[in-house]
Amino acid sequence: MNISHHLTDETIQDYASGSLSMPMETLVACHLTVCSRCRNRAALSDGVAGSLFNEIKSVSVSTSASDLLARASSMPAHSAPLTNAEGRSAPLVTGVPRPLARLLSVPLEELDWRRIAPGIKQHNLSDQHRKHGAFQLLHLEPGTVLSAHSHNDRELTYLVEGSYTDETGTFKAGDIADLDGHDHTHQPVVDSEVPCIALIATQSPVNYSGVLGKIMQPFVGI
């Protein structure tokens, strides 16, 4: 995969510090799977955290090491997994990064896509109210032009298949659009010959400028 759009340092930092939501983490992990550049940067951010960790001020604790070990025998031997994949077998769906594959029970084309506008289908991955932000897959037919819109807050778009172009460039499979509260409006156009499938996580709803946009606002995210 030839990656040309990467994560910003701020997003990598937030991932390292554990401040991202589950949907955002999923998108970051998808991109890190296919992008060694960003994966190295994420490892560096962990290393920085480790180095600074020695400098934080200690607070008093009410248990000693020996008390804790004495009690350990009566505590459950198996602790909860430390990552999403730990102790789980490989997901059934292949061809997409595993952090996404683990959310799918059937291949992308067999998902129950919901048609929301001409050329646009959506598959929701979130069970939360949309005021908490969106987490969804979009399926865009070739030639689809999205309404012009801007964003309030952080928004991540991971390109699963196909490609689109907007004012900031062309996005292909593996690329991530890492937008953060920028004022300018952008208008993506699907320019691949195959449908464009994008995974999207937003922190807050996007702002559409036109009337059709206002109607679509609840559904679309890129």
Binding site: D9, S45, S51, S62
Partner: protein, 222 residues
């Protein structure tokens, strides 16, 4: 301390003393890093309770401080800290001193446990056996190996020590205190954009400093 241009002689002496102190500090932290790494290896190999006690004495209060700094009450932070330290006791055999400093390994466990506790599902990470994993490096990635061994940890520490205080502060807050850039901005009474740009500048500077370290090392070995 500010030593930018035309430092008066008396201040220069102080600056040299500071340098000497910084040298001592680096030595002390190198020793600590080795001791804690050895502790983890001894716990992993022999369930060495003395090694655990030494590790616990140094880190338990720091782990709890991190949890409280991120907003947990004393009581919950204490309980979660115990669970984290117990996880370390039980999983130390998976610690590889070639891959990460002890403090980095500890931090990532504490971070992931906190995430799991707060939202009830585990942190999403790259799966190293994912067939989509891209192993090739698309560009020069000198930072990749810097988190990998003792010498690398020292280089990283030096790279960090060269950061301006305001950038170090923001990094520190972002890892161990604030829940978001917005919260940090409010604390420091700065626009959120300034907080973000300091994080970005800090990570850029770390990468440049590491590259310089690498070049210095290369010219030395020539």
């Amino acid at each position: 301390m500010n030593t930018i241009v035309a430092t008066p002689p008396e201040k220069r002496v102080i600056a040299e003393k500071d340098d000497a102190k910084a040298g001592e500090k680096t030595e002390a932290s190198a020793e600590l890093r080795k001791r804690m790494g050895d502790n983890l290896v001894a716990i992993g190999k022999y369930k060495d309770e003395k090694a655990f006690s030494d590790l616990y004495t140094y880190y338990a209060g720091r782990v709890k401080s991190f949890l409280m700094g991120k907003g947990m009450s004393d009581q919950i932070a204490e309980e979660l800290m115990q669970e984290i330290m117990l996880t370390i006791w039980r999983r130390a055999e998976s610690y590889d001193p070639k891959k990460a400093a002890a403090s980095t390994w500890l931090f990532t466990i504490a971070r992931n446990r906190r995430i799991d506790y707060l939202r009830g599902n585990s942190r999403i990470e790259v799966e190293l056996d994912d067939e989509m994993l891209n192993l090739e490096t698309t560009e020069e990635d000198p930072q990749a190996k810097y988190v990998n061994d003792q010498q690398a940890a020292e280089q990283l520490e030096r790279a960090l020590s060269k950061l301006p205080q305001e950038q170090r502060q923001v990094m520190h807050l972002s890892y161990f205190r604030g829940q978001s850039h917005g919260a940090i901005a409010k604390w420091l009474d700065l626009p959120i954009g300034t907080v973000k740009s300091r994080i970005r500048l800090a990570m850029q500077a770390v990468r440049v400093n590491l590259q310089n370290e690498e070049e210095a090392l290369r010219s030395k070995t020539k």
